[in-house]
């Protein structure tokens, strides 16, 4: 057991402390490291790209999160039983979860390419998009793609966690509701939803955190562009650390971001808890 504790300490807690230490320095990749005090944090406060990336990522998280949550729940209801072939359907919905974000993003880069992409061609053939249509030259279109990819990649995951929650409720309770003449909707609203509240909280916390931390899809599909309009927070941190080589500044951004995430998670838990008492 000691080895696992030590490994975690060495490669986890030490880096966290080091992030703080590095963030107090002007720390280029090569060259002289100088102590800078809180300079990096002051700079972060004025960094309009950092705040705009946080705003952009927040919009992405809310839109993708709501759609993934609702679709995942709907799929869970669909495959809960009653339809033929539920096992196959469930596997189909879940398949995109098993591949990586990077591979999924490359797959979509190809499918959406304006010349050779089959998805763009399909949309063109039904007249939904024009002949010169490009997805990634405009931020609003790129946003649609990023959300669609994220929903496709994550809805099956939400579905599975919902399913596990739904089956943790005693079957007798659903039956009892039915015997009492509850409608399909009443059964979900008054029997299932209150009882699987912890699952709803879990899924929403999970989706929000995972989506806020998104990197691969932004790096591969848009490179944050056009300009920095579709840069996610992690993309911007990466860019500062490994493209501009300002490791100190990137560390400061990382810690601010971590703090924001913790606050957001806390708010979410409180909000969802409050909902329970109503």
């Amino acid at each position: 057991m000691l080895p696992s504790v030590l490994t975690v300490a060495a490669l986890f807690l030490a880096p966290l402390a080091m992030t703080g230490w590095i963030s107090l320095h002007d720390w280029p990749l090569l060259g002289k490291i100088t102590f800078a005090g809180l300079e990096n944090y002051v700079r972060a406060a004025d960094d309009s790209t950092f705040s705009s990336s946080f705003g952009f990522t927040t919009r992405y998280v809310i839109v993708s999160g709501v759609i993934t949550f609702v679709l995942g729940f709907a799929l869970a209801l669909l495959v809960r039983g009653g339809l033929p072939g539920t096992a196959v359907l469930r596997t189909a919905y879940f398949l995109p979860v098993s591949i990586g974000w990077a591979v999924a993003s490359f797959l979509w880069v190809w499918l959406l390419n304006s010349q050779v992409g089959a998805a763009t061609e399909l949309l063109r053939s039904i007249g939904a998009v024009g002949s010169e249509f490009e997805w990634f030259t405009r931020a609003d279109r790129a946003f649609v793609v990023l959300v669609a990819l994220t929903v496709w990649k994550s809805a099956g995951f939400a579905m599975i966690v919902f399913l596990i929650g739904m089956q943790s409720v005693l079957k007798d309770l659903y039956e009892a509701a039915r015997v009492d003449g509850a409608s399909w909707w009443q059964e979900i609203r008054y029997v299932m939803l209150p009882l699987i509240r912890p699952t709803l909280v879990l899924v929403s916390l999970f989706l929000v955190t995972a989506f806020y931390l998104g990197f691969d899809q932004f790096f591969i599909l848009t490179r944050g562009g056009p300009g920095t309009e579709t840069a996610s927070v992690v993309y911007w941190i990466y860019n500062n650390a490994f493209v501009r080589f300002h490791l100190g500044y990137a560390s400061a951004l990382s810690l601010i971001f971590l703090a924001l995430l913790i606050v957001l998670n806390g708010l979410q838990v409180r909000l969802l808890r409050k909902d329970v008492t109503q």
Binding site: P3, S4, V5, T7, V8, L11, A14, P15, L16, M18, T19, I22, V79, R80, G81, G82, L83, P84, A87, T91, A92, L95, P96, S98, I99, G100, W101, A102, V103, F106, L107, W108, V109, L111, N113, Q115, V116, A118, E121, R124, W152, S154, G156, F157, I164, Q167, K171, W184, A210, F215, D216, I220, V234, Y238, A241, A250, S251, S254, L255, L261
Partner: protein, 299 residues
């Protein structure tokens, strides 16, 4: 453990026969149709990608795209075989990193999980909570120091260094799973082995491990998916082409020289990168569910 048992089978938990007795045949038909349409939309990209990888290079690069190939060709795969250090080189890198991650994670989490499940010692709970708390700290926020540490000790551009990073991030979840697995085994079984003259390590390996196999498979599956699919750490830590894992190789395959992309090459590369993950996942689905059901949510 009770929850885990309840989802052990991949079968739907609600009896299919009387799940929706009140719904009319029309409603059910409509729902089924909707379910199938969504399923097709979800799976179509995979089918099309795999089919396309067997097009000729000319058809793969045709604009507008050729949806159904006129002939089956291995041309794209032959191009891929000679791309960069050759596809087998990249597959080898991915296999090494994934293999080291699986072995490292499994050994450490079995020992750690056993310790947490069986031994009493001062500070045990603090240690356990610390390990679990690290699950809340995302890797993305500590990439900079990891990079600095690993470059100090010469482990950047090293498959071992990358595996170490993956092992670290798999451990909290894996120790949690293994602790729960061992905690569910009655101590009497173990005592019997010890009485019969097995040493502690031997008892773990010969008596406990076989019983804890479902938990171990779960750990292996998550470690595989994490290491095989990971992109950001590999992007940062591997800068030399000969060390690239498959996801990073895709990046070079998608940015050809002079801004031209060989789409056939990319299709074949995508197929090679995604098929193993899909196959393993399909084979071991129920262990994935067990992992999720034990409360360790991980994407």
């Amino acid at each position: 453990m009770a929850i885990v048992r309840s989802v052990e089978t991949a079968q739907p938990p609600v009896p299919q026969t009387r799940a929706t007795p009140r719904r009319s045949a029309v409603t059910r038909g409509f729902l089924f149709l909707a379910a199938v349409v969504v399923a097709i939309a979800f799976v179509a990209p995979f089918v099309y990608a795999i089919v396309s990888s067997f097009k000729t290079a000319a058809e793969s690069n045709a604009a507008p795209p050729v949806l159904v190939p006129s002939a089956i060709s291995s041309e794209n795969y032959r191009t891929l075989a000679n791309f960069g250090i050759g596809i087998f080189g990249y597959v080898k890198n991915s296999v090494i990193v994934t293999g080291l991650t699986i072995v490292g994670t499994l050994v450490l989490s079995v020992l750690g999980g056993y310790g947490f499940a069986r031994y009493q010692f001062p500070g045990k709970n603090v240690f356990f909570v610390t390990i679990l708390a690290t699950m809340m700290i995302p890797f993305q926020t500590i990439v900079v120091p990891l990079f600095v540490i690993l470059s100090k000790v010469g482990l950047t551009n090293s498959l071992v260094g990358l595996s170490l990073v993956y092992i670290t991030f798999q451990l909290p979840f894996s120790v949690f799973i293994m602790r729960n697995s061992f905690a569910a085994i009655p101590p009497a079984i173990e005592e019997a082995a010890l009485v019969d003259g097995c040493g502690t390590l031997k008892t773990i390996v010969l008596v406990m491990a076989p019983i804890a196999i479902p938990g171990m498979v779960t750990v292996v599956l998550f470690a595989f998916l994490a290491a095989w699919n990971e992109f950001l750490a590999a992007l940062i830590l591997l800068t030399r082409g000969e060390n690239f894992t498959l996801p990073i190789m895709l990046l070079s395959a998608s940015s050809g020289p002079y801004g031209t992309v060989d789409w056939g090459l990319l299709q074949a590369a995508i197929a090679v990168a995604m098929v193993p993950a899909m196959v393993l996942f399909l084979a071991l689905q129920r262990y994935y569910l067990e992992g999720l059901a034990s409360g360790a949510v991980k994407l």
